[in-house]
Amino acid sequence: MSGLAHAGLLVRRSVLRTLRQPANLVFAFAFPLLLFAINSSGLAAATQLPGFPTGSYLTFALAVPFVQGALFAANSAGANFAEDIETGFLSRLSLTPLRGPALLSGQLAGIVVLGVMQAVVFLAVGAAAGAGFEAGIGGIPVLLALSIVISIGFGGLGALAALRTGSGEAVQGLFPLFFVFLFLSSVSLPRELMETDWFRTIATYNPVSYLVEAIRSLLISGWDAEALALGFGCAAGIAVLTLTASSFALRSRMART
């Protein structure tokens, strides 16, 4: 049986498992939307700053739930993977002819499906709330594609944390660290308007800024090739790095003779 067929079986399991955990779905959908609601009403005055790219903070803030939701989902994916290690399910899988790449892609499938669902819901909620989407209909598949790559990258991070620690608790404990990266980016303000030098420098080197800015470009300015290239590039870079590191970690975790 091919690795693709093995991956397909695990994709089915991963999706079923994800959809059957309502608590995880609440975290993945409700929290990003709640923070979106708070930010867009509480920080609306930021649009008064000279040079702010849009008159609607709602539209500006809508980019954040996409990235934030992916982080929540990555945490769930990591916790699920860790649970497989703790319960011995990974040992069960290790006794089959399954290969590591098929396992990794299968495990991450749930988070990709969730990422697409999140993107659709966040987009619909944004539209209903009156946020703009300058890129128009053609921008929707691009946004979905970017959401998928971001989900894979963050999912890889969750998987790496699970594989390195083998503990769901440790994965949950690492999660706040991931959030630090989110808040040290341009989620609340455009980088050009940050007056604190060290914060602007960190946000400039933080790849999360470029993920947010790529999504934001579709919402605010339409088609910004540079922003999209940087966003896709950073998302793909994170995905390649985390998946490569996860593959090595999985190889030692599944060290069969």
Binding site: M1, A5, H6, L9, L10, R12, R13, L16, R17, R20, Q21, D84, I85, E86, T87, G88, F89, S91, R92, L93, S94, L95, T96, P97, L98, G166, S252, R253, A255, R256, T257
Partner: protein, 357 residues
Amino acid sequence: MVGDSYVSATVTVVGEASSRRADNGIEVSGLVRDFKGAPRAVDGIELRVEPGEIYGFLGPNGAGKSTTVLMLTTLLPPTAGTARVAGHDIVREGPEVRAAIGAALQEAALDPYLTGREHMRLQSGLHGLTKAERRNRGDALLERVGLSEAADRRVGGYSGGMKRRLDLGLALVHRPRVLFLDEPTTGLDVQSRTALWDEVARLAREDGVTVFLTTQYLEEADVLANRVGIIDHGRLVAEGTPAALKAQVGGSSVEAAPADPAELGALADLLERFGERNESAADLVSVRFTAAADLTAVVRALDAAGIKVSSLAVRDPSLDDVFLEKTGRSLEGAGAEAEEDPEGAGPSERELAGSRG
């Protein structure tokens, strides 16, 4: 002509079955496993399990049972020694070993969010069964382990016994020739335990599956196993059929409690005429019979001496007596001791990860 074809076909089938059976055994030689910063977990184990045999690997917690199983199932490389399972070397021919074995490891490793049927489909699919085979095999195994009615319920709602039975069913999906069961009945009620024993016995008897079963339950090894290996601190301290092992210890024992506690000394003096005194509870006297002694003679002697007893029983030697003789400890107490003693503990997931990394 027809008759010839029939004979020829029969011979071929029997020949194949014989060669399959010949490859179903386990041969272990000098198997060792060390963990960083801990005493040797498995210390030079030598054993041989014949095809179609149920081999009980008996020992207290932390004795090295699970580490041995992890090595034999290719999930943990040995530090030294060799082993062949189903005719394949566990180090050099890992994929071939895995294709030939089924395993239900300690704690039923199941996904609480999937149903029993979904587990079957996943497991059979990963082993390369076609869609039609997956359905048929899955249904047949669910029926076999008595889970047909619960097949479409999520495993999170299963009882411990149901999980163990599903675990066993999953281990059989690809028709393994050798089955490893690591403490399959730990934590189960008597009814579930008996049901699992019946199924394991049937697998060996009817399907010719070789079963390597670890347990800390004396009764389980006694009832189920054709032969038993007793392991302590990573070493095999005794091996043989349960009957032969118990015969090594000696004959039956008589246990009696005096009706009047003041007569304990007199009772002990009397019973010691019939054999050697065993260790026992403070209010009892236990004596292992010499070959010539029997209960009738004891009763007559008690009557003649005017000693009344509140209980009198003859007890055959148990595997615990074997363990006691070989290690100086009772198996039931040894488990608690091993848990307190980190040196005797088996590998945790973290240790395994460390060893693999």
